[in-house]
Structure formats: structure tokens, C-alpha cells
């Protein structure tokens, strides 16, 4: 049993719903009690969808349990098929139905329908949402391409040459409730088309079962979100020989590397190499003098695997930040995140507990947090600017404007989204600096509100704890006064370091001189 106050990911059947809702001509019969229908609002409210998810819930009740719940499943399947006439039917169960073992998938297959039926077995007590989405997309791909298995030869990435046409690729992984997928797809298609590469199928977002059957018309697959598409890409490689890309085109360097990887796989000459550096404003904006102040900004990163790793690379290599924390809730991608963290000399945080993330954030004393909506709240409490880089989705993460994370425009969006909160952070500093001037009007607060930017608050809130600590460190008046003069965004760090130094040296009272001693010691 695991105590959970809040969770980054939903259960695996919500992952299956993401695939079903992303696609056309599919229906999902979910053996589940009535409360599970809440999941519809994720799509209709958060994504603002104007259609209901294509899901029929059997909504069995306690009184059904004594009787024949299997009959109830069959009745719902029959009605759903008659009403929605799907080209492919997904059948599965949520956590409660898993316990009563009606095996709805097997029941559906015995009902004599012509359409392909995908039996989804998603273990609700051990797996989570992204795994469920990945497994559903994989099972769907497998089921729909099964018949083509025996007849097909291995697909060569060079086939386009023999066929005398432009190369074709599939873009796999974008789904509803995925971070900025809607716009990433447009951006990536645009980039590929500029390179003379056609998109064969985008899936699951916007695809129909017919499109899935057409996947093998392409030469290679673009694995755009590993959390969702890697299992399917791997299966297509094993069974049809289709190569797939590993680079996630988030950030300038990765976008260029992605384009190179695609060209290499297709054996397509890259003609506009020099142009690529100038496709986005990020490199110049980052180089321009007023970005000097970005150098060495301490950044704490937490999100899904794909976005966290990409963010670390951009932060370090493209914006000149210092990554002081990196973590993910995607256990499936823990290995990759750990490897990136190792390169950055930080310890990776792999957890589904937001309070642990908040603690790590506090300890790392960052100047900027890149995280999920939950880290945005934690950062707000700590008075640290934050930009959201990853799911779980919030209605704010589905902006009306075009706002990709990937490709050239994605890099532009990232520059603005990450740097603006920092500039507001500076504004905060200025307010703090000028607050003793007579022109200063009380109530002139920035977006960060009344958080711990005030030294007195920091000291007061921690005072009791400190005095009671076994070291018994005390801040003298001069020590406090000096700490007030330290810019707010490093104040926490200075305070911790000074105390660390005081303990180390056995100094019971911290004066202004102790601050300078500590500064010299740690520099």
C-alpha cells in the first residue's frame, strides 16, 4: 500500500483512453464502475474537447456483482457497436473490474463481430497511465498489422529511391493529454517537409485504424515521444525492419541532430546544413548581451522523461544555466534520466511523490524551476520562478496560440517561457531593492506574491527550529542585516552555506563577518 496525496500519472486505463480519444473510428468499452467516468472530464475540460471520449463504461453496481456481470459487459459491447459502428473495438477493464475477472476482451471476441477487437490487459495495481497508453498503442498496432506480417519483406529505409518518390515517414507518439503534442506535430511535419520528406501517418493523434494499417507504407518511423511510441516502434522494427529515430527534437541542438539522424537513416543528403542554425531565434537571443545574466542560473528540472532530459540539455548547452537538480516520475525512463544526471554531476530523483520533489527543490536552492504544474505550485510557495515543461496536463497547458516545444518554433517558445519568469524574478529583486525608497508604493507585488523573499520572514519562520537545533546557531543583528543585502534569489543558499560553515567551525553566533568568512570558504 502506498500513501498518495497527489499523483503525476493516472491509472493505465486512462492511458488507453488517451489513445482511443486521440484516434478516429475507434471505440473503447471499459468494464468499470460509474465513478470511473470522471476520466471524460480530462478530455472535455482540460483539453477543451468538443467531443466525448469514445468510451462506453459498463458502470456495474454492487447489486450486479451477485448476478451476471459478464452479461452486462456483453450488453454494453453490443449497444456500443450498434450505436458507434467503430472500425476497431478496444475492450478492457479498470482496477475494480480487474478483480472480478469477467475477461471482457475474451467475451467481445466471442460475440461474432467482423471488426478487429483489441483485448487490453492493463494491470491497474502495478502500472500507470503512460505505460497504459504505450501498451494500448502497441496492441492496436500489432492487431491491425497482424495480417500483413507473413507476406511482407523487411522495409529498407532506402526504399523511396527504388520507388522514385520522396521519402515517407510516420510520426508516432503524439496523443491527447500529451504536452503540446498538437503543435509539435505541425512543427515536425513542417521541418520534414522542408527537407523533402513526406509524412505518411501521424498516430495515434488524428489517425484511424486504416491509417495504422498504412504504417508500413513509410520507410522509417519518427519516435516522437518514447513514453508512448517506443514499444510500437520497436515492434515495427523487429517485424517489418522499419528503423526509427532516437533523437527527440526539443532544443536547437537536438533538432539539428534529429534532422541529421533522419537524413542518415534515409540516406538523404542534407543540403541546408548551414541554414539550420538560423531557423530559430534561440541561439542569437541566448548569445545577445542581455542574456549574459542567464549565465550559471541554477535550474531545477522535474517532469516526464522525454521533457526532463531535453530540458537539461537545453538549459546546460543552449542557455548556459547550471542544472542543480534533475528528476522524473517516469519510472520507465529512469535509466536515461540517471545517465543524463550523471553527465551533469547531479543525482537523479526518480519518484512519484511530489513532496519529495519539493524537498529536493528546496535543498537545491534553484533560481528557476522547470517542472510540471505541481512544481509550479511548490516553486510558488518557495518564491522561485517556474516554467511548466511537462505533463500532467492542466488547462493552461493547452494554449489557444501555436505553442510547440519541438523544432525551431519550439525553441523560440522555450526561450520565452523560461526566460520571462526569470526576468520577473529580477523585477522582484528590484522591488526588494527599492522598497525603502519613498516612491515605493506598498502593494506593488509581482506575480510571485508575498513569498519568502523577505529576509525577516525567512529568519522568523525558521528561527524556532534553529534555536532548538542541537547546534544552537544564532543570527546576530549584524548577521541578519548583512543577509538582507544579499539578493533574494541567492539568499537561501547563502543562509544555508553560512550555517553550514558556522557548524563546521563551531561558531555559535553568526555575524556579518561570519557571512564573509563563509563566502570566502565556499568560493
Amino acid at each position: 500500500m502506498e500513501l498518495t496525496l497527489w499523483t503525476y500519472e493516472g491509472p493505465p486505463h486512462v492511458g488507453a483512453m488517451r489513445i482511443a480519444s486521440s484516434m478516429k473510428d475507434i471505440h473503447y468499452v471499459l468494464h468499470a464502475p460509474q465513478g470511473d467516468t470522471y476520466a471524460d472530464l480530462l478530455f472535455t475540460m482540460i483539453e477543451r474537447r468538443g467531443q466525448r471520449p469514445p468510451v462506453t463504461y459498463t458502470t456495474f453496481q454492487a447489486r450486479d456483482l451477485g448476478g451476471d456481470t459478464a452479461e452486462l459487459v456483453k450488453k454494453n459491447i453490443k449497444e456500443a457497436v450498434e450505436r458507434f459502428k467503430p472500425k476497431t473495438l478496444l475492450v478492457g477493464e479498470s482496477c475494480t473490474a480487474e478483480l472480478i475477472q469477467d475477461q471482457p476482451g475474451a467475451l467481445a471476441k466471442g460475440m461474432g463481430f467482423d471488426m478487429p477487437i483489441v483485448n487490453l490487459e492493463l494491470p491497474a495495481y502495478s502500472k500507470k497511465e503512460n505505460w497504459g497508453a504505450s501498451e494500448t498503442f502497441y496492441q492496436l498496432t500489432r492487431t491491425l498489422l497482424k495480417e500483413k506480417l507473413s507476406s511482407s519483406e523487411k522495409i529498407s529505409p532506402l526504399r523511396w529511391k527504388e520507388l522514385g518518390r520522396r521519402p515517407k515517414v510516420n510520426i508516432l507518439g503524439p496523443s491527447l493529454l500529451g504536452f503540446r503534442c498538437r503543435d509539435d506535430v505541425i512543427e515536425i511535419q513542417r521541418i520534414l517537409s522542408e527537407q523533402g520528406i513526406d509524412t505518411n501517418v501521424v498516430a495515434p493523434l488524428g489517425a484511424s485504424p486504416d491509417d495504422i494499417e498504412r504504417l508500413i507504407d513509410a520507410e522509417i518511423n519518427i519516435c516522437l515521444y518514447q513514453e508512448i511510441a517506443e514499444a510500437s516502434c520497436e515492434w515495427l522494427k523487429r517485424n517489418f525492419g522499419m528503423e526509427y529515430t532516437n533523437t527527440i527534437p526539443i532544443g536547437i541542438k537536438n533538432t539539428i541532430e534529429f534532422i541529421n539522424e533522419v537524413h542518415k537513416k534515409l540516406d538523404l543528403p542534407l543540403t541546408n546544413k548551414e541554414e539550420l542554425e538560423h531557423k530559430s531565434k534561440l541561439p542569437w537571443y541566448s548569445k545577445s548581451v542581455d542574456s549574459n545574466y542567464l549565465t550559471g542560473k541554477r535550474v531545477f528540472i522535474f517532469g516526464d522523461g522525454t521533457h526532463a532530459i531535453a530540458a537539461a540539455k537545453i538549459a546546460k548547452e543552449e542557455l548556459g544555466f547550471e542544472v542543480v537538480g534533475l528528476g522524473t516520475y517516469s519510472r520507465e525512463m529512469a535509466r536515461q534520466v540517471r545517465a543524463t544526471a550523471k553527465d551533469l554531476n547531479v543525482e537523479a530523483l526518480i519518484t512519484n511523490n511530489y513532496l519529495e520533489v519539493e524537498d529536493a527543490m528546496k535543498k537545491a536552492t534553484p533560481e528557476l524551476v522547470l517542472g510540471t504544474q505541481m512544481e509550479r505550485h511548490s516553486a510558488k510557495r518557495l518564491g522561485i520562478p517556474c516554467s511548466v515543461i511537462s505533463t500532467p496536463m492542466h488547462v493552461q497547458d493547452v494554449p489557444a496560440r501555436y505553442s510547440p516545444q519541438m523544432g525551431w518554433e519550439g525553441a523560440n517558445v522555450i526561450f520565452d517561457d523560461w526566460v520571462h519568469p526569470l526576468m520577473m524574478g529580477l523585477e522582484e529583486h528590484l522591488i526588494d531593492m527599492f522598497k525603502h525608497d519613498f516612491e515605493f508604493v506598498d502593494g506593488h507585488q509581482s506575480h510571485l506574491g508575498h513569498t519568502a523573499t523577505n529576509t525577516k520572514d525567512i529568519l522568523n519562520s525558521d528561527e524556532k527550529k534553529e534555536r532548538n537545533s542541537k547546534e544552537g546557531i544564532i543570527w546576530t543583528e549584524s548577521g541578519r542585516a548583512e543577509l538582507t543585502k544579499v539578493p533574494f534569489f541567492v539568499r537561501g543558499k547563502v543562509k544555508t552555506n553560512t550555517e553550514k560553515y558556522a557548524i563546521l567551525r563551531g561558531i555559535p553566533e553568526i555575524s556579518d563577518e561570519t557571512l564573509y568568512d563563509a563566502k570566502a570558504y565556499f568560493s
Binding site: 500500500m1 491509472p11 460509474q34 467516468t37 472535455t44 467531443q51 462506453t56 456483482l65 449497444e79 502495478s126
Partner: protein, 418 residues
Amino acid sequence: MSKVEFNKEAGPREVFCGLTSIVWLHRRMPDAFFLVVGSRTCAHLIQSAAGVMIFAEPRFGTAILEEKDLAGLADAHEELDRVVNDLIARRPEIKTLFLVGSCPSEVIKLDLATVAEKLNNKFLGQVRFVNYSGSGIETTFTQGEDGALKALIPLMESSNEEKLLLVGTLANNVEDRFKKIFGNLGISNVESFPPRQSTELPKIGKNTKVLLTQPYLSETVRDLKHRGCEIISAPFPLGIEGSTEWFFAAAKAFKISELKFHEIISPLINRAKLALESHKEILKGKRLFLLPESQLEISLARFLHNECEMDLIEVGTPYLNKELMKEEINLLPDNTKIVEGQHVEKQLDRVRESNPDLVVCGMGLANPLEAEGISTKWSIEMVFSPIHGIDQAADLAGLFSKPLKRNQILTSKTLVTH
């Protein structure tokens, strides 16, 4: 009784389960913690239904069952014990801990009553443990509150003191308002259940007169009757009419003179009628379809028809207790179509066929209906907003007039292009 048309429907439903009521119950009792014993789905449901991300460590959580818990029940009890210990160590300010059963815990027959009893002995004098089920196989949405309140009744001490007990969660400001009005009427001993602090449970007995503020408390009412409480029969305090009759029923039970009643209530009614006018103008003659969810539907239909002059197409309710709702049903216009239960697809067919001006529905259905050109009002807002009482009648009407008004603004051309 008016000649209303009762129908029952079965099929796939689109409603919240009883766990959702934790969202308002934990805010009502800030010294209580609600621990759901369930799955990741339960945890995800509550955080999604709450609609917003949590801004601090919340006073609700889920002990998520894992595969190893399903293997043997003895383990599950021990595991729950461990989780509760951790939780209490972390949140020492908690006075009452609700162990809330869910669909999976009910199906595996996890005996939360026994667990609660053991924990009560262990934490005697520190934390009280109460258990109830909010599972979706047994409860719909607001019925979760019914379960939680019922579970508290055994903890309420007996007293023969005469008092008026308001039963059902109220917004704090509405509660204050009600107490003031009852005071003006001459009823001074008024208490609320649930109280604002879980440890300050009202004492009850044969001189307790219960006035329900919410229509979904069937089980709670039954147990209060067993404890000797008298239930005052009245419509529910939604809208001017319902609230007036509600106050009147209480006044009668406490033998307050009609003269006094009118002296106190009439000015409120007059003021509220004035405030209601602008909303009535928008709602008048508009056709309303209520999908089932909160059990408030019948009271809302009565208010929106009788006071706002809307036409009722269909009034859905997840569950109908005819005895409890008899005063409300009496006030409904003849031939009102009440549908208990749901077949969501067939019901949506009827929505489309009847072409309503406004549909009251859950959040999963609102935007899809809007996209089809049908104005909607989410039902969950009814349980989060202060809508009870005479003074709030205009606010209640406002919840329904706003979507219509907005629609009107967005579809009309008011500024000339120069």
C-alpha cells in the same frame, strides 16, 4: 401530490462516485483527514474532480492498493496500519480520520470497520477513526456525504436538550446567515451537522428537531430517527419558495407565531424577489433538461420552474427517495417528467431531440454539448457554491442565467463597424 410522471432507466451512467464528496467535506471539517483505501484511479478521480491542483499538502489522500496487497488480506490490514501510522506522524493535528472504502476495497471485502476499531484503541484520546464507503458500486456523488455523516452518528452523544439541528454541509457564510435568521425568529439553539470541527459533534436526542439542508441524506435521516430525532418535513432551502417553506416548517415546529414569521421573513422575500428579477427575465420561457448527478435536480427544477418560469423537459436524478422528496414533488408542476437512473446515450438522444435551451450536466458532457450548440451548466458547481437560502436565490438563478446570457452576448452583434 402533483401528478408527476415517474420513470426509471438503467444503462451506462455518467456520474461521479461518492468519493467526490470528500472535496467539500474536507473543507467543511479542517481538523479531519479523509484516507481513501483504493486504487490509483480513486486518487486520480479526487484530484481531477477537485478541478484544481492542490496548493498545499491536502487533507485527503489514498492508500493505493498494490498487487501484493491483493494477494492476502491479512497483509492489507497491516499495510493500512502502517500507512495510517505514517500519516498521523506526519499530520499530528488531525483529530478525526475517515477511512473511506472504494470500489476495489469493497470488492475484495477489506473490513475497514475492524481496522477502524483497532486503530481507535491504539490512538485512543488522540485520533478518532471512522469508516464509510464512497465506492461507486454503491454510491453516487453526494451520497458519499450521506455515508460520512451516517458514520459519525454513533459518535454523537445523547442529550434531551431542545434544539434545531441543520443537517447537510452548508457553506460557512450561509450557515451563519441561517443561524442569524433563526435567532431573529426566536430559535436560538441551532447547531449544524457536519460541524466545522469534527470533534465538536452536536448532541442529539428526542428533543432534537432535524431540518435537512440537502436532499441526499436518506441513510443519515434514518439513523437520526433511530436516535429519537424528529425530522421536520419541508422542501429544501433552495430558492425563495423552498427556503421560505423550510424556515416556516422550522418555525412551526418551534411554535413561533405566524405573525412573527412574516415579520422576519417577508422583508427578505421582497428583497430576494427584486434581486431575482433580472435573472428571471433571461430564464423565463427557456426549456431546461436536467441530467442526473447530485440529487439536487428535483429542488432545482422546482425553483427554476416556479420562480424563474423555465419549462421543464426532463428532470433526471441518480436516485429518488420519494418519502424524503415528497414536499418537493408536491411543488412541481403537473406532468413533470422525472427519470431515476440513467442510460447516458439514450438520455443524450432525448436531449438532442428536445432541443433544450439549457442542460444541467456533469463536466464530462458539458463541452461536447456546447460544441453541438446546446448551453450547459455543470452540476458540480451546485455543491461548491453558496446557493442555499432566501438571500442566495438570485445567486442560484445566476448560475443558470449566466451561460444563457453569455451565449446571447457572443452571438449578438452590438457594435457597429465604423
